[in-house]
Symmetry: C2
Subunit: 227 residues, 2 copies
Amino acid sequence: MNKLLRLNSREKSILVKTPFMASLGQAALQKMTDLATAIHFESRDILFREGEEAESFYCVLSGYVRLYRLNKDGREADIRICGPGDTFAECLLYLGPNYRYNAQAAENVTLARFDIQRVRAAAEQDTDISRAIMQSLANHLLSTMDCVANDRLQTAPQRVAHFLLTSCPKESTSASIRLPFQKSLLAGKLGLAPEALSRAFSALRRAGVTVRGRLIQINDVNALRQI
Amino acid sequence: MNKLLRLNSREKSILVKTPFMASLGQAALQKMTDLATAIHFESRDILFREGEEAESFYCVLSGYVRLYRLNKDGREADIRICGPGDTFAECLLYLGPNYRYNAQAAENVTLARFDIQRVRAAAEQDTDISRAIMQSLANHLLSTMDCVANDRLQTAPQRVAHFLLTSCPKESTSASIRLPFQKSLLAGKLGLAPEALSRAFSALRRAGVTVRGRLIQINDVNALRQI
DNA sequence: CCGCGCGATTGATCGAAATCAAACCCTCCG
DNA sequence: CGGAGGGTTTGATTTCGATCAATCGCGCGG
């Protein structure tokens, strides 16, 4: 069911609230929503593959998308997990003509799709748009750098603790979280095998973390910070 | 000896050849070089620390700079190694007010320094400048994503082989390379301990790689691609 | 030319996570 | 109500790279 359609009003209302769109002025916002088409993918569908010619970039409206690479043995590694409000592949607006990673629907997803050529043209004329692109690029760059640093500096339980802390409301002493996606996807996001994530969770039990299904209870947020 | 000075003509000639500057038109180039000041750091000097207020971003004119993070035990992990022509911290043009990593001179370095406020203002008025920033951000984002993927997918010898291949002229069957910096810096760049890099090199001997000091002889480039 | 010192190498050991395999536990469906 | 299947957990083993320690070797200055 991956047909291209105009956005319906519910989709449009989601789109305009994404960080990328929210910073745009009235005129720029109108231009961008006019360029957007809606597209749906079923779980496990491939959106595009590394090396294919890049026609579009995307903004997630609902669901989650995996960006990942393959090594020559066919093993996969996630580079980024994109959820509602995230844009991806927008770096190709100003670079080579090919996608640089694979993208797969981790579950049923709805996306806003933008033609790269047209957005490039729109950005030439509207500094609001090019500024939004820059902010998005700068944010992704920093979060990807965070990812490198975390991979290189932190153990599995530390990565999980860090993830949980970023999912907690600030300044809380205890919290209850519902994972927004499958644990296997979280494992990939953190650069872990699913088994390693499971073991990391059980290592965090002694720090007051209780897991049942997607529900995670954190008794002592400060204890997590010490991990 | 980290005094701020106008660029001398040799420094200016290096600056205008960097990828960031090379894409600028005449007027934009002039604006940017007018904003630049030259600054020198000795090996191991700290340029800035994570969390400090970000006043400037930089372009390397000579030498190498390490960008790195610390974990709470004080262990360091390199995020990026910047050499001649590289810009860094320019992502802060459009983001929060603080540096997000530490920067240290890996050897004696000369840098062009740009005031963030002023460049932001210049970019508002000159689309050439904002386009150059976007290209730079997009390039860094992709290479940082490459870094994540490599860390997660490749073993130490594979990372070294990949590095050597990117340092070889394309379409060559054999090559001789001189490392542009210390092996310990290369180790950090690849996310390895120095000992692991050393062992990776010796593992590559069976693929026809000979190492003596900074000189690396590659007998069979294709063999390296199979690693 | 010698000796010093730092970076690099080598060896031994340790530890974290991947991998392989099996059991478990839901949820959904017949 | 029972069964099936996918995701998750648990256990056993293996592998890779980090760490610690000792040695080597090269460049530099005395």
